[in-house]
Point group: D2
Amino acid sequence: MQARPTRAMAGSRFAYVKNFELADPLLPSTFFVVRIDGKGFHGFSKLHNFDKPSDVRALALMNDAAKRVVGGRELNGECVVAFGESDEYSFVFKRTCKLHGRRASKIVTLVVSVFTAAYMALWPQFFPNSPLSLEHLPVFDGRVVQYTSELEIQDYLRWRQVDTHINNMYNTVFWALVLQGKRTEQEAEQELSGTISSQKQEILFSQFGINYNNLDPMFRKGSIVIWEEEPLAVSQDSAPSSTSEPPAPSPESADSPAPLVKMRQRKKPPKPKRRLVVVHEDLIADAWWTEGRGKALLDG
Amino acid sequence: MQARPTRAMAGSRFAYVKNFELADPLLPSTFFVVRIDGKGFHGFSKLHNFDKPSDVRALALMNDAAKRVVGGRELNGECVVAFGESDEYSFVFKRTCKLHGRRASKIVTLVVSVFTAAYMALWPQFFPNSPLSLEHLPVFDGRVVQYTSELEIQDYLRWRQVDTHINNMYNTVFWALVLQGKRTEQEAEQELSGTISSQKQEILFSQFGINYNNLDPMFRKGSIVIWEEEPLAVSQDSAPSSTSEPPAPSPESADSPAPLVKMRQRKKPPKPKRRLVVVHEDLIADAWWTEGRGKALLDG
Amino acid sequence: MQARPTRAMAGSRFAYVKNFELADPLLPSTFFVVRIDGKGFHGFSKLHNFDKPSDVRALALMNDAAKRVVGGRELNGECVVAFGESDEYSFVFKRTCKLHGRRASKIVTLVVSVFTAAYMALWPQFFPNSPLSLEHLPVFDGRVVQYTSELEIQDYLRWRQVDTHINNMYNTVFWALVLQGKRTEQEAEQELSGTISSQKQEILFSQFGINYNNLDPMFRKGSIVIWEEEPLAVSQDSAPSSTSEPPAPSPESADSPAPLVKMRQRKKPPKPKRRLVVVHEDLIADAWWTEGRGKALLDG
Amino acid sequence: MQARPTRAMAGSRFAYVKNFELADPLLPSTFFVVRIDGKGFHGFSKLHNFDKPSDVRALALMNDAAKRVVGGRELNGECVVAFGESDEYSFVFKRTCKLHGRRASKIVTLVVSVFTAAYMALWPQFFPNSPLSLEHLPVFDGRVVQYTSELEIQDYLRWRQVDTHINNMYNTVFWALVLQGKRTEQEAEQELSGTISSQKQEILFSQFGINYNNLDPMFRKGSIVIWEEEPLAVSQDSAPSSTSEPPAPSPESADSPAPLVKMRQRKKPPKPKRRLVVVHEDLIADAWWTEGRGKALLDG
């Protein structure tokens, strides 16, 4: 954390060990996703009495931590969209992203670290009466996955939203059976075994008077963190999120590392101001990608 | 964070995207190090007025966070020693480690996440009057490096300790010149340019009356987090660190993942109770490895 | 090479060493190129008195070996085009290729081995009076490179053709200066140092009466091995190459390995009969890709 | 194959595609094995009427091709031992090997190419009446596997020799039952199903009068290609192999690539002259490694 003498990393007969650090660049010009996942969140959620089947505060906390990641200077504004459900979040980068020379471990650890730190920092806002303990910290692991085309990355996000739907449907009925229907967890599991989606909706409606489609869209569709152009002459106060977020850096101003690949045709128009919003929209249908917020999202 | 229906990850025509997740196992039976590094800590340390050249509180915080990593259930007791200096820490694992099927990104992100969370959680104990802000979080990146022999891993740790020494010597003289000697930073840099170790020691002594060898060994040698067998019938209260630490899990009791490799000859004797200590010892000389705490450290 | 008992690879307490074989799959759905390169061909070409600057026989031999690779059953008809110049050849595969589970080392070694064997087998046809010796064998190394889009793979081939042009231009003038102009090799090198293309053409024309554009297109543009649909009711005897080539397997009939990835939309129309041809066309301009042989080459 | 102008590989706006070539170095200081395997040799051996269960000529050809690989200038004398059985061969390199910057694909393709070329070149010596055809070439794939210790690499070779034994035992009885015992292949397979080694030996002896232990040790133990120091003042004519072999280059004289890693303590004593021999010895027992040819084989 101090200015280091430049020969510091060399400087000794032991420096040969540095040669064991192998490069791990992502392939140039792939799209890629960093997906993080809560580690042992089953126990963590019990410890802090998360509501079942879903806890609004816990999900809002995940969303705000994700906004901090996407909007933070560490990522240089290069993450274009993120998708979250339960205790996982996926951060999507375009094929032109040159962050940290596209070194895989650098990028994935950075995302995990910023997310973890933000989750810790934001915790008291969402769970003021349930302080964290050193023994039971919220911990996330991460991985990076590369894709070669827009369709694949769209399908990646569709895959996660279908997963959200399947999990939420199951958990909603499961906990209705247990909490309102007085089944044991084993009984509920057996009762749901082999049922399809329409049968689960029927159980919800006939036994508990719940219309699945009226549930909070955050539960049913997950959360999308995405950039939105700011209307001119409108103050940032109108941002839809209550959490203050860091100003979005424009990629031009940042000091990016030396590009690994010089791609052809590269002329960026000046970017308008933008801010992050969290929405709960259907991104499975094509409309979101052709006319909605996903339009032109992955271009360039 | 809820019980998930088992077909959740499949379940749709989009599930093909999961095949893009490539395996990244470490080679079986290598020793390996996870090294984490503060990201942008130059600015972070200025923001919180870290003492120069070294801040005792900041280093002690790093050490306690490292103890939380090494001793925490997440690593299953498999990290055998860690070494820290400045805003970096190295965590060493033996060749028999089978944590998480030796998946590289899983292990490196886990270490980074636990360290970040612990650093956040411990911060108020060390900097009670300098609260963290969401905009300027302590963030760490990480990498994993594999080695093939005990000598190499010993030399890795020697390399970091030599680096500690070189950096600390430089920074000590540099800040003495600036803070006490009233040079500008540029003048100090010029004055030190090309000097060797003995010349720096001479400047320190003749101009500032500082005997380098009397400085805090934590500054000069860095910090070693290492397991120590607990004497029988002694309570844990006698632990040398003021920070409470989680009980060290013994590798036997933990539910480890299915082993990737079945090595020959594997019979572990029952482990005695052990606790973590932080020491500042010379590990460059062979003595530490043949008679000191490093003895038999990497065996098995 | 015999029927092996199924437990053969296990069967002993030493079988743990098999776990050190790490998977090396290519990313699903990338295009990829296997490029092979002659090893020590400078000496090899001297030994067998190759003509300078280019040897028609040596290039035709390379082309026939490449046809054997592309058309052979080993590649299952999955290589769609190959490009050769001097002692190197590039073999291009589409993103849908599932050959050998897309294992990188399997594919690259297979291509190198088939090419080497074919080169050896065809040698006597092209150099009947210059037999090969065991000490000086024609040897090739290889690498595999992945691309994410059609444009990139087109640009890859353009890159090789530009390279062909630059090398051939240089070598043509260089050897004209040496062989006809009686310069030493050092003098020729100096004379060409810093010259641009038009100056080299001028030297060729004014000093040696050679119009560069009239040179054999195989020298100037390299060689393209590509599939051509066979006109119906025409016997295979009309194939433009004098070398007999193996029948092209259609991907449907071959027993391909279990697919690593199940992609969406997969309905293959029945393929017409096809044969391999060697052409020397300009693939740098877009026309080759939009109207010429490159049209739809990389689709699907 | 000509002198190339130095800017040849750059030189155009398409050169960005070169950045897609990712490095693939082996870890510094691992031992490694390149294992090659005949591709489709079941059919190839039928085509050329290889003797069953083992063909002396085919194995001797494999051995001579392996000697050409180990002794050839391409490997710079850095392969210390090779082991062959059936249509596979394993080439072992020490941890200090710096061949081609330890680039994995470079090394594995080189070994495969030299082996293939040598097999082709030597074929007529062993099968003078069964010429090769372009359609059915002998083809080999290859892989590279890294190990971290001498024990592991010893166990690798033990694993292959155990495999040789198991396969040879099975094939010997199987073909005795079929060729002499007039069973169909299915009957033979059934008869052997579930038998252990001693039962197979009993069948061999009681039904066919064959004492397994008297079979050619090349069949039972495979073939070891290894360097042997030449006695002083003895001509090379006394080499035990009938095949002329290329002079063994000493590592010192060769122009090796820039070392990736500078290891500590590196002082090589001058090497005595050496030649390659093919032996069929037991390397499973420790004796071969402590007192036999394997002694000190992997040192340094």
